[in-house]
Each structure stands twice: as C-alpha cells, then as structure tokens.
C-alpha cells in the first residue's frame, strides 16, 4: 500500500467535534495561472511546468503546515478512488490525470488539487458551519499564492476559471447534510426546489423504492459572480440553518407521530449492522443513517456521531479494498464490508429508547 494512503487511514482516528445534521463542510477556490492554457487544452509539458511551479509555491506557504504532495501515478486505482470517497479530490482529478498532484496536510483539513479542471483548486474542510474560519484559512493560502504566482484575474469577471460558471470569486462552499426526517415526511422535494430557486445546488443520491436511502444531501452555492465571498457564505449559512431547523422540527414530528416505526427501524438497522455477512453499500448507508439519527436522539451516545461518519466512509467500495489491501469484486466487497460493520457495531452499546 502507498505510504501516504496508509498514513491517511491511520490518521482517520482523529477526533472531531460534530453537530447533528451536519456531516461535513467545505470551501473551495479555483485559481489559474495567467500565462498558461487551462488544463483541458494544455499539453503535458506545460502542465508539468504549472504543477512544478504551483507545488513549490504551495509547499512554502506558511498557512500549509505539514503538507505532502501526492503524485496520482503512484497510487493503485482503488487507492485513488478512496481519496475521492474522502472528498479530498474529485473524480475528474483522478481519472483525467493531467500531471495531477494532490497536496494534503497531515490533519486532512487542507487539500489542493493541482491541475484538476483549473490549475489550482484549494480546499479547506470543516465539520460545522464555521465558514468564517474556513474562509480565513483559505484566504491566507490564496494570498500567498497570488503573491508568488501571476494569477488570472479580470476587473469585471474576477478570477478567471476554465468554466465560466466558476468565475468571480471562484469560490464554492458546500455542506453535506443528513436529512432523514425530511425524506421520511416527504418534504425533501420541496426543499430541493426552493434551494434551487434561491441559487443553491442540491445534490444527493436517491435510491429506488426506498424512503430511507439517500438521506445525505450536499448543498452548495451555484453563483460565483456578482456576490462577495462573505455574501455567498452568509447566504449559504442562512439557508443551511433554516434547513437544519426544518429537519429538527420534522424529527420531532416523526417522534410524535411515527414512534413505533422509528424504534422498529432503528432497532432492525442495528441488528443488521451487527449480524450481516454480506451487505451492499446502499443498504449499509441506510442502516448507518438510522444509527446517526439514533445518536442525534441520544438513543446511542452522541459521541458516536464522529465514529459513524468515519464508518460510513470506510464501507465505501474503494475504502473496503484499501482495508483489504487488494482489489475485490462486488461480492467480495459486500462480504468484507459486512465484516467491517460487524466488528465496529459489536462495540456499540445497546439502544436506549427514552
């Protein structure tokens, strides 16, 4: 196994403060060098030059402590995919491989994709809604970059990016939310439409015929030009706070009106997680979603929330293969996934319904 990936998995035991409903958050800036073609149109030689230049500047950035640079060519396919599953880089980044390099700090809070769609995609991660702190951090890196590199900027269009949907601030901020009650009470479609009308994109996965599947939704700003970073972030925070309230209120409704359904589903899910021998990732995610709800309701210790976030990551296909130290087919993955889940949920205390 690649040493870097190995370290990544060992470090995943870092403890994080979590809050109900919010799974993770992120702020990302897109930047390009003024004299080079955008990645999609550049030749390999040019991209290598860009990568070398960016790498040396980033490694000297005081805001990036303990950063290492990972060359995508050094990783196996599933190791690369595991980085995507961890949100550390995008799918496009690992598939296209345009002299792509990933800079990552030891605490996994900062990652920079060099030569993704834009020359630089700087990302800062969080686990709450403290966008101010995330923006301050990313801005510090951005200042260092623009001090040392000639960044493409235009008075009217702001920071110039490969796709015009990212110009202006070049910033996207997103939050991954866990919204089981809005799904169960069938209010989620309305919410998606409303958020969209307000200029926010909602992404999520919907599984056929299963109400509980796909309870995770990523909300992000769609517009990047015509608003300042602070405006974008405060609007996003505002809408996220309303969604959280909406979800928490719906949870109270579920508790009041569907208590037997709730206890039954949570209880059965824990039974499956403790006893399964072969499980698909979709089924596993459904069950873990219910465990997260149980932790938020304090049927399980709320301190488990962070562990549940981590286990949800670990049961994704490429993570399962990294943990097995080899490539696995679909059946083998389902088997290994069940093993990981049984082992973890054996340590989880019994449910305490209040």
């Amino acid at each position: 196994m690649n040493n870097f990936v190995k370290k990544l998995f060992q470090d995943s035991n870092l403890r994080r403060e979590t809050i109900p409903v919010v799974v993770s958050s992120r702020v990302r800036l897109a930047r390009n060098l003024v004299d080079s073609r955008f990645v999609k149109y550049a030749c390999k030689r040019n991209l290598r030059e860009v990568a070398n230049k960016c790498e040396s500047v980033l490694l000297k950035c005081p805001a990036i402590k303990n950063g290492s640079v990972l060359n995508m060519d050094d990783l196996s396919e599933y190791e690369r995919m595991s980085l995507v599953e961890r949100h550390l880089c995008s799918q496009e980044f690992i598939v296209e491989n345009n002299e792509s390099r990933l800079l990552l700090t030891d605490d996994h809070v900062i990652s920079v994709m060099i030569n993704e769609e834009d020359h630089l995609r700087i990302q800062v991660f969080g686990f709450d809604l403290n966008f101010r702190a995330m923006f301050d951090k990313i801005s510090e890196i951005d200042d260092h970059v623009s001090d040392h590199l000639d960044i493409a900027f235009d008075e009217r269009y702001g920071f110039l990016t490969s796709c015009p949907t990212n110009i202006g601030t070049g910033m996207r901020a997103s939050v991954m939310l866990h919204l089981p009650a809005l799904v169960v009470t069938k209010q989620i479609n309305n919410l998606v439409l409303t958020a969209q009308k307000l200029g926010f994109a909602v992404r999520g996965l919907f599984g056929e015929g299963s109400e509980a599947r796909g309870n995770f939704f990523q909300i992000s700003n769609q517009q990047t030009l015509g608003l300042s970073e602070v405006d974008i972030l405060s609007r996003l925070t505002q809408i996220i706070k309303s969604i959280i309230d909406y979800e928490l209120n719906s949870r109270e409704v579920v508790k009041k009106e569907k208590i037997v359904w709730l206890y039954d589903n949570i209880g059965r899910a824990l039974g499956i997680l403790r006893g399964c021998y072969s499980i698909s990732s979709a089924d596993a995610i459904n069950c873990i979603s219910l465990m997260m709800l149980a932790a938020d309701f304090e049927y399980l210790p709320s301190g488990l929330r962070d562990d549940l976030n981590q286990i949800m990551m670990k049961i994704q296909s490429s993570h399962v293969q990294v943990l097995a130290h080899k490539a696995l087919n679909s059946n083998e993955r389902d088997f290994k996934r069940a093993e990981i889940l049984r082992e973890f949920f054996a340590t989880v205390p019994n449910l305490k319904f209040t």
């Binding site: 390009n32 003024v34 080079s36 073609r37 955008f38 999609k40 149109y41 995919m81 995507v84 599953e85 949100h87 880089c89 995008s90 799918q91 496009e92 801005s139 951005d142 623009s146 493409a152 900027f153 235009d154 008075e155 009217r156 269009y157 702001g158 110039l160 490969s162 796709c163 015009p164 949907t165 110009i167 202006g168 601030t169 910033m171 998606v192 969209q196 994109a201 992404r203 999520g204 996965l205 919907f206 599984g207 056929e208 995770f216 990523q218 517009q223 990047t224 030009l225 015509g226 608003l227 300042s228 970073e229 405006d231 974008i232 990732s281 979709a282 990551m313 994704q316 296909s317 679909s330």
Partner: protein, 195 residues
C-alpha cells in the same frame, strides 16, 4: 425498471440534478454508481459533464452572435466550448466575450465581480488603472485582462458604478450602495481635477 445508462443492467440508483432550471436524471446500476463514486465525489458525474457545455450554451439568448469567434491566443471557439464546457485560456474571456456574457447572464448573480481581489492588486490599483489609462477604441471596456492593463474612461467607469449602485439599491444592500455612492463622487472629483 429503468436501465443503467452506462451498461444497460437494471438501474438501482437514480440521481436527479438540476442546473439552470434544467433537470437531468441519471439511472445507474450499483456497480456503475460505485465506479462513479457514490456520493463522496465533487461536482457532476461524467455523464453530465459532457452535457455541461451544451446546457450552458442553451442558456444563451437567441440572436446573440457567438459564431465565428475565436481566441487569438489558444484558438478556442464557441463550438469547442459547447463540446467540453470549458474555455481554453484566460485570454478567451476577452476574445470570446459575447459567449462569456451570454453564459454569465443566464447563470450568474450579477455581471461584475464583487469579491476578493488578488493581494498584489488592491482595489485602489484597479481604480487607478481604470481611471488613468485611456481606451484605444473609445468604447467603455473596463474589462480587459490582467495582461493588457488598458481600461475604461472616467465616464464608462462612472456609468458602471451607477448601474451597480442601482442594483445595490434594488437588492437593498444599502451599505454597498453608500460605498458606491462615495466612489462615484470621488471619481467625479478626480475627473474634474483631471480636466
């Protein structure tokens, strides 16, 4: 039952994405869904990526002339953009301006950057560029790229600021409006002194 758009097997994952009021639904089998990243992935799935250029292109108002444009630096054309959803280089923003403006109009909040400016290029410096360098064609074009630091006249800058002021008032961003009002006054003063 829907079939997976990638391999034709029965689809179990159905993803709906709305971009610029256009809804796209993707059906995938579990294997293809896993291959395309379940939900950890950032941005659009690849099936959508290839359509992005087209989606953005279709947002451009009919009648705007984008055909025949070509970037003098990298050779990127509107057709290339339609195919890839990406521009070729920073200079494209100048040479393919009608295309960019069409996309900006249909997908962005406003026409002008309101956010951060690179540290080595403070607002003051930009104002200086905008106010001291005359345009070669006399037209109000303060939107030149960084490489060619030519820019608009006082008049065009003031007009632009006025438009921004109107918008700020409309959006009830009064602090911003006050700042713009002062900026216009300051600019008018400089103009008078200059003359």
């Amino acid at each position: 039952m829907d079939k997976c758009q990638f391999c034709g097997k029965p689809a179990v994952v159905h993803m709906t994405q709305i971009v610029n009021n256009k809804t796209t639904v993707i059906h995938m089998c579990s294997e293809c869904a896993a291959k395309h990243g379940l939900f950890g992935k950032e941005g659009l799935p690849f099936a959508l990526l290839s359509n992005l250029g087209e989606a953005l292109f279709s947002g451009i108002k009919k009648g705007s002339t984008v055909n025949g444009l070509i970037c003098s630096k990298c050779g990127c054309t509107p057709m290339a953009f339609k195919e890839t959803g990406r521009l070729g280089c920073p200079h494209c923003y100048e040479d393919l301006k009608p295309l960019v403006d069409g996309i900006v109009e249909s997908s962005q909040k406003g026409p002008v950057h309101r956010g951060k400016v690179p540290k080595n290029r403070t607002r003051v410096e930009i104002e200086k560029i905008l106010t001291t360098e005359p345009t070669d064609d006399g037209a109000s074009r303060p939107e030149k790229s960084r490489k060619s630091k030519k820019s608009g006249t006082h008049k065009s800058k003031i007009e632009e600021l006025r438009a921004m002021l109107d918008e700020a008032i409309k959006m009830e961003h009064y602090e911003e409006a006050a700042r713009l009002r002062d900026e216009i006054a300051e600019l008018k003063k400089t103009k008078e002194v200059g003359e």
